[in-house]
Amino acid sequence: MDDGKSGRIHLLDEQTVNQIAAGEVVERPASAVKELVENALDAGAHHIDVVLREGGKALISVTDDGIGMSPEELGMAVERHATSKLRSAEDLNAIGTLGFRGEALPSIGSVSRLSITSRAKGADEAWALKVDAGAKTGPLPAALSAGTRIEVRDLFYATPARLKFLKADRTEQSNALDIIKRLAMAHPHVAFSLSDGDRVLFRAERALSTGDDAQKARLGDILGRAFTDNAVAVDAVRDDLRLKGFAGLPTYSRGNAQQQYLFVNGRPVKDRLLVGAVRGAYADFLARDRHPVLVLFLELDPHAVDVNVHPAKAEVRFRDQGLVRGLIVSGLRHALGAAGHRASTSVSQAALGAARPATSPVTRPAYGEKSALGGGFHDAARSWQAPTSPMPEQSRFDPETIPVSARHEPVTQEQEQAAQREDYPLGTARGQLHETYIMAQNADGIVIVDQHAAHERLVYERMKASLEKSGVARQMLLLPDVVELDPDAASRVLARAEEFAELGLVLEPFGDGAVVVREVPALLGKVDSVRLVRDLADDLAELDQGLTLKERLEEVCATMACHGSVRAGRRLTLDEMNALLREMEATPHSGQCNHGRPTYVELKLRDVERLFGRR
């Protein structure tokens, strides 16, 4: 049997099997933390405390107050494929718990010194079990008041090769912190803490409230209050799918997509579907290199999703990808649409920060406190959300509402009275500064509007609406363009041919691996259709949706909007300014320009008062 180097085929011993499995399940300390904390959550814990020493290389300790284990269960727990979470293969189709593979504990046990101390609920004594690089000792009686404590010492000491590939303590620690934060986001009713033995690195208290408030409070703890103040609640249902969560306003955006979290049935996952859907939903509001911050929880029938794809369960497969993507895009769009013209509070805070006198006589640490300022704005903003429908069609022909016509009729009594009303969210225009900014006064503050950015957005929204209404005119080609693609890309593009046709691009198959372009959107003029189709194919491969075409059309609209709007430097009458403000209130997404910059800033009166030390 041991003749020759390659030898004969034989079954591996259990320890080796576990070490191989450990390679997949436990990649680094953070993945061990993930497995252990998920176990604690599955055990119904209300408090989970994690201690990491040397980034988890020396010690990972997870203590929970869950249901605990009996001595018999303890013995079983470290056996491979022993789990309480799955009874049969049928259950695999409907997984309701975080763990299920029964691989985590034996895998960890095979590469470290593992000790488990647990007291089953209602039991009088606690028991401890030790596993040293796969060798089991116990269970022996031990002392523990309730729940389970798992200690992993010297992770990977049994697999020195893996040990060498670990990063610096700090990196491993921040990876573990990221994992705990993700799990904490999904479980607001469980208290979490992480310490390195000396210092507490992260603490989230158990939320006492219920529902969205609890969720929001938890997200505020983790992502910062600024996020919850600048996010809109997402709540969308389609068939058996339910999408909840919070989406950041476009004006509160980041340079990378790291702060985008998706949870599927409470399980944190990374999925490229999310990236594409988010880009699609925000395409209108953000420049390509800006990324929104958002946290989305997707709940669906466990049958409709396969979590048994990846050993660490970082990826999932949806039975109906299109439905999920559609729900995310429409849910986000709807939520952002409801946000109307809100711009983020961080904008007005920045403005106030800049306005603060340099030689402040009294320093008031409370001044910049986000919660007070943000909360006030937030509440006020919520109360404005009513007018979200686009402008009614006939209003475009109604001379009273043309925003910036060059009318110079005398102001009638009626108009004057209307102008005095201050219950408009964006207030009443009081004047124009530097022929660029409109100053307006509303019930409880000052509104400063960038006239060009605001009008550009209004024109853009109007154009988009009319484009949607009338459809995209298509120029048929006398000489159709043949685009050579690889067969995969060609079939991907052709599968979406109907969708593209609606946007003006008509494609037909042309032999193997080629498509022929028959009609192009007239709006794009003499477009390089070969490149357009190639870009679409790349989009489909990368994001599973063809954004390029829509973006190109919107780019043309945006350019035309830019040229067709009131420039900075143009003098406006009060009537014109008020008309602009009213139209902004009535137009969705008017809070930011086409590049995600704010179109207006609102300063609360009480903040202005603070500037002058009146408060």
Partner: protein
């Protein structure tokens, strides 16, 4: 080199050659024009390496010589000199001095030895073409030349010998994939064996400038890769587009049987009027054809609508079709007769248009879906 020349003669020659010179160049000497005084004549040469022009003009030459100076600068200077001024040019070492009246300019020169010479090589096919015919070939087709770089073989006019029912003709075709223009003239002697060639857009533009002032016979010499045009005082040499022009005859429909005849002027003015309302770039106009009339309409969701009814000669089945108004006007601009004829099939097939008074030109326009 030392010479004197009348300002207007120099300006005319310079304005012909300077437009060949690109505004920005990576090779400095390509920004220059070569000035050569010899045999009692002044020769100006400019090139962009694809196209070269040599223009001769009479001058009072005191001393032969040659150099190169920045073309646009020299052109601007001469343009701003007073009419009737006598311009003196003299080369001293590395600068060219220009004197006119009390003005005096000194221009930096680059050595003429470095100036790229474009060799025409062997040009086996030679014939002459009257200037008005050349003008026709260009004017009626150049609006349809494609500007899209990826299909470079459409970036010019395709000139070739066509075999028709009435014998051979010299035919010019241009298309941008949306519309096509085709015009032909009688085949000149000596052109029979010429290959089909694609003359680049820039060359077409340069040639066209000379045709406004030139009435005689143009000498044309060409090979597979180059073409040379000989005017009275100028010679233009150009590379040809190295590509295969598509088989355009496939896209010219034969069986379009719905014939529309309409006054070109009225039609053109009406299209121009109704398209005022369209605000977006697509500029579509819809044509509803009924017995002896057509109805033009444009709808803009932002601005409103426009319609206009025109009397026309039409007896086929009623139909509707949409076109890009810009494209339609481009074609109507080419029609010289009173009437334009359009042969249509249906709203998704190409339409053939002709000048009612001119059988030799033909246009194909692809409709828009609106």
């Amino acid at each position: 080199m030392k010479l004197t020349i009348e300002r207007s003669a120099l300006l005319k020659a310079l304005s012909h050659v300077q437009s060949v010179v690109e505004k920005r160049n990576t090779i400095p000497i390509l920004s220059n024009v070569q000035i050569e005084a010899a045999d009692g004549q002044l020769a100006l040469t400019a090139t962009d390496l694809d196209l070269a022009i040599v223009e001769h003009t009479g001058a009072d030459i005191a001393q032969d010589g040659a150099t190169t100076v920045p073309a646009h600068t020299l052109h601007d200077i001469v343009r701003k000199l007073p009419d009737g001024a006598q311009v003196g040019l003299s080369l001293n070492d590395r600068t060219l001095t220009l004197n006119a009246g009390r003005s005096r300019f000194t221009l930096a020169c680059l050595p003429r030895e470095d100036f790229p010479v474009m060799s025409a090589g062997e040009l086996p096919h030679r014939f002459t073409l009257p200037a008005p015919q050349m003008k026709r070939l260009i004017d009626k087709t150049r609006f349809a030349i494609s500007t899209e770089e990826t299909r470079y073989y459409l970036n010019g006019i395709y000139l070739h010998v066509a075999e028709g029912e009435k014998g051979s003709t010299l035919r010019a075709v241009a298309t941008d994939g949306h519309r096509l223009a085709q015009v032909e003239v009688a085949l000149p002697d000596g052109a029979a064996g010429m290959p089909g060639i694609i003359i680049p857009r820039k060359t077409v533009q340069e040639i066209r400038k000379h045709l406004d002032e030139f009435e005689g016979e143009i000498g044309i010499e060409l090979s597979d890769t180059k073409i040379l045009f000989r005017f009275a005082h100028a010679v233009v040499t150009s590379k040809l587009i190295d590509g295969t022009f598509p088989d355009y005859s496939r896209v010219i429909p034969e069986g379009n049987d719905r014939l529309l005849k309409i006054s070109c002027e009225e039609f053109s003015e009406a299209v121009d009027r109704v398209s005022t309302i369209s605000s977006d770039k697509s500029r579509s106009v819809k044509l509803a054809l009924e017995t002896d009339k057509i109805m033009l309409s444009v709808t803009s969701p932002e601005n409103g609508t426009a319609t206009e009814e025109l009397a026309a000669d039409y007896s086929a089945e009623a139909m509707e079709i949409g076109f890009n108004s810009r494209y339609l006007l481009d074609i109507l601009d080419q029609v010289e007769g009173d009437e334009v004829e359009a042969r249509l099939a249906d709203s998704a097939s190409p339409t053939v248009m002709r000048d009612g008074a001119d059988e030799s030109a033909l246009y194909v326009l692809m409709p828009m879906r609106v």
